[in-house]
């Protein structure tokens, strides 16, 4: 039971689930549910203090499927909304569920800036490396040569390595998970949610219908050991992040690459808004000064 009196199972909402059978989004949903339930119990965080945001795409449906506060936003724009929510209420744990098309194509500027300012939010990318809901076009992390419905001849561009981009932008917590390694994934979620500052988890998510990379990931992905990367050092993290570039065939490290503390953006405003007793008197004072 959670402090709010609800077992984890109750966090599943009555909304009908419409993901394809075998979709990696199921793992993300269930591990998010468990992460929230366990954090609620272990860290005494009331369930009502979690807020989930969704972008637009298959991934976004997750916010409907959990009985948790949610803001089902628009394509690529959940990150600035999350910052607004965290600004308004520091007790809230604000978690964005975004797609790779959603956030690396439409929403990249917001992602970079949230990392740059160390906004105290968590971004979980459902990185299936394809546009699911619009039926199979390439995304910024599709590998070169990928044949999507808008690029039947195969794309000639190379993918972004989003972890490298996030490290450069100033993210203070960077991790990668895989939807077939669910316990590991849950641990990454809990760690990211509890991180004070901007946390980012790129989840290699199986799209069963348009880009099923199960065999490829099963063969290449591995969980990093404790001492494989020094998560407090930029260069160490960068080296490990570059081991696989989403394009060439290479071992794919999973786990936390980087995690450091920095001042939190939202907290810089605290002093300004401390006293809001009589705003109208404040307005009158300001006008008086002009006389």
């Amino acid at each position: 039971m959670t402090p709010a009196g609800r077992p984890a199972g109750d966090l599943i909402s009555p909304a009908e689930n419409t993901w394809c059978p075998g979709c990696g989004n199921f793992s993300i949903e269930h591990m998010m549910k468990s992460a929230i339930a366990e954090l609620s119990e272990e860290e005494r965080i009331p369930i009502e203090n979690f807020v989930l945001l969704g972008g637009i795409g298959c991934h976004g449906k997750l916010v409907d499927y959990l009985n948790v506060n949610s803001f089902y936003g628009i394509h690529g724009r959940s990150v600035p909304a999350a910052t607004g929510i965290r600004l308004a209420n520091p007790d809230l744990k604000v978690i964005c569920h975004v797609g790779d098309g959603d956030i690396y194509a439409e929403g990249l500027d917001h992602l970079l800036f949230a990392a740059k300012r160390n906004s105290d939010i968590t971004v979980i990318v459902h990185d299936n490396r394809v546009y699911g809901l619009t039926t199979g076009q390439y995304t910024p992390t599709s590998p070169a040569g990928f044949r999507g419905r808008s690029t039947p001849g195969g794309i000639t561009e190379h993918p972004l390595n989003p972890l490298e981009v996030m490290l450069a932008a100033g993210a203070t917590h960077i991790a990668r998970g895989y939807t077939r390694k669910v316990q590991h994934l849950k641990g990454l979620f809990k760690e990211a949610i509890m991180h004070r500052g901007f946390s980012f988890v790129d989840v290699l998510q199986i799209c069963a219908t348009y880009f099923n990379l199960t065999d490829y990931y099963n063969e290449h992905a591995y969980e990093m050991k404790e001492d494989e990367v020094d998560t407090g050092r930029f260069e160490s993290a960068l080296g490990k992040i570059r081991e696989w570039d989403y394009d060439r065939e290479a071992p794919i490290p999973l786990g936390t690459f980087y995690s450091v503390g920095k001042p939190i953006y939202e907290e810089e405003f605290r002093a300004l808004t401390a006293d809001r007793s009589d705003r109208r008197a404040l307005v009158r004072n300001v006008i008086e000064e002009w006389r």
């Binding site: 949610s70 089902y72 910052t83 607004g84 929510i85 600004l87 209420n89 809001r276 404040l282």
Partner: protein, 552 residues
């Protein structure tokens, strides 16, 4: 009526705006009502900037072309304003810059050198000269400088001002009035103050003329007003952050101009569908696209009325002066919360960056309105379909409650749905909210009228053109009718205001007659249009001349 007009002109970077405000302060100190129009191209140095400051014993809100005193820092400031100079105009110029000068020439370069003062103090020399020409005592001059100049530069400014004062002679005498010395504020400043009066918690904006100064003003005063002021990466983030703030229970407003509002339209639709309140200040300037960035227009009316995809209610108000800006900014914020709709405050460069005497004591505020909050019994449904269409609000973090906001079509609890019945009910609920808002507005002064009902001639106008129209109307004994609220359109109040209107003229700062088009859509006859679309507002005399042709 006693009134005075002063024009001060020079190059960008010479502090013409600040000097203009000091001149307004000089008259204000003597109990006059003042208005300042500031004209500047979009460049940082060079070009030609000028301000026209008008002072009167009664309330004003527009400029006139002829001036009593012209203060010229360069040749352009004389040549470009030949039409403002008449027999009674006193010209004071900087003799170090103006070759073919007339009136008094002040050797400003020599003065600042001799006084060991920085070049920007030349403005004080002009101010000093103006004071002497207008028979304003040195004590008043000093007082104004003391208030407007930072302490460490004060002595130098006072010395230079005195040199200007001594270099000319008295020409006329501005008699002090026994009115109060009112503060001179810009429309941007008053918009900000009105929003805070209405309960603003955060202001979020990306810089864009003519509302950048609203961002600057609130940022500068954030601590004094207990306000959070945020400048994020672009306008898309601006409106999304505001929606995040509001979803979590804080009142937020954003500010921009047409170009930035283009980017905000996806957030606007999201606000409509998710029913999250947001207040948007749109300062109009000529478009399309970058247009003429630092000039004025009334060209975005139909854009703000129609922006965003889909069908949802919104509130749009276009204040015409500072008093209306103050009360309606507070009201726009309150109504956006009460009805959970986007509110748009439509201003323009003339109003936003123009300055005017502001009498807070004389502003009639509308009654306070609070949003309906959820009482806490039963299961919370964010989009409960009650009769008014307005579902009670709750915010995340409240024990035992989950709050699901949704951009998708949704059921009462906030879960996504595409079922035909649900979709119909949702759309009807949203429209009912608009009807409730319209009903509430029937008790507000949504349409204002000036002049006698039996005039037989009516000038229709909106926004910042209001005062030019009121003054021009006096010359024709015409009536003025001004809609303040443009959505939901106050059709009943409009009909009532236009009874016996007679010969109707619709005055606007655009090329196609946007208010006229709206009136026609609503089934009203807008009469004949008098339009100006060169990026400048009507001067009172200029408008009167145009009206003469129509009313003849």
């Amino acid at each position: 009526m006693t009134e005075y007009s002063v024009l001060i002109g020079g190059k960008a970077g010479e502090g013409i705006n600040t000097a203009g405000l000091s001149i307004a302060g000089l008259f204000s100190r003597l109990g006059y009502r003042t208005y300042m129009y500031f004209d500047y191209p979009s460049l940082i140095r060079g070009g030609h900037n000028f301000a026209i400051i008008r002072a009167s014993e009664k309330a004003i809100g527009a400029h006139r072309t002829p001036v009593d005193v012209l203060l010229a820092f360069d040749q352009n400031s004389i040549e470009n304003h030949r039409e403002s100079i008449h027999g009674g105009t006193t010209v004071v110029h900087d003799a170090s810059q103006v070759m073919r000068g007339e009136g008094y020439g002040l050797p400003l370069d020599a003065i600042v050198k001799e006084e060991k003062a920085p070049p920007i103090t030349k403005n004080s020399a002009m101010l000093g000269a103006l004071a002497r020409v207008a028979g304003i005592g040195p004590d008043v001059l000093e007082d104004v400088l003391r208030e407007s100049v930072p302490a460490k530069h004060l002595e130098a400014n006072l010395r230079v001002a005195r040199r200007g004062y001594d270099a000319v002679e008295g020409v006329f005498t501005v008699e002090p009035l026994d009115g109060p010395a009112l503060p001179v504020l810009t429309g941007n400043e008053v918009t900000g103050l009105g929003l805070v009066h209405g309960g603003l918690d955060s202001y979020v904006a990306y810089p864009m003329t003519p509302t950048s100064n609203l961002l600057h003003f609130l940022a500068e005063r954030a601590e004094d007003l207990s306000l959070r002021v945020i400048h994020p990466e672009n306008e898309i983030s601006v409106i999304m952050m505001a929606l995040g703030l509001a979803y979590a229970g804080e009142r937020a407003a954003v500010g921009t101009a047409g170009g930035g509002f283009c980017l905000m339209t996806e957030g606007l639709s999201l606000a409509g569908m998710s029913e999250i309140p947001v207040t948007i200040v749109v300062g109009q300037r000529p478009g399309p696209s970058t247009g003429i960035p630092t000039y004025t227009a009334q060209t975005d009316l139909h854009f703000v009325l129609n922006a965003g995809q889909g069908e949802f209610p919104r509130f749009v108000v276009a204040p015409g002066d500072l008093a209306e800006t103050y009360s309606w900014s507070a009201t726009a914020l309150a109504l956006s919360w009460k009805y959970q709709v986007p509110s748009i405050i439509l201003t323009d460069k003339t109003l936003a960056e123009g300055a005017c005497s502001f009498d807070l004591g004389a502003v009639t505020m509308h009654p306070d309105r609070e949003p309906e909050l959820w009482g806490g019994t039963g299961e919370y449904r964010r989009y409960a379909r009650i009769k008014s269409g307005v579902s009670p609000l709750a915010f995340p973090g409240r024990a035992g409650t989950i709050v699901k906001a949704n951009s998708y079509a949704h059921d009462e609890a906030g879960f996504t749905t595409e079922a035909a019945g649900e979709v119909t009910a949702l759309q009807e609920k949203m429209l009912r909210k608009g009807e409730s808002l319209k009903e509430e507005l029937s008790t507000y002064p949504t349409v204002r009228t000036y002049g006698a009902r039996d005039a037989g001639r009516t000038i229709v106008c909106w926004g910042s053109e209001k005062w030019a129209c009121i003054e021009a109307a006096e010359e024709f004994d015409a009536r003025v009718v001004q809609p303040l609220v443009l959505a939901p359109f106050p059709a009943r109040a409009w009909k009532e205001a236009m009874i016996g209107a007679g010969n109707v003229v619709c005055v606007e700062n655009n090329a196609t007659g946007q208010l006229a088009r709206l009136l026609r859509q609503q089934g009203f006859d807008p009469g004949r249009s008098v339009l100006k679309y060169d990026g400048r507002p009507f001067a009172v005399d200029e408008l009167a001349a145009r009206l003469k042709e129509v009313f003849a």
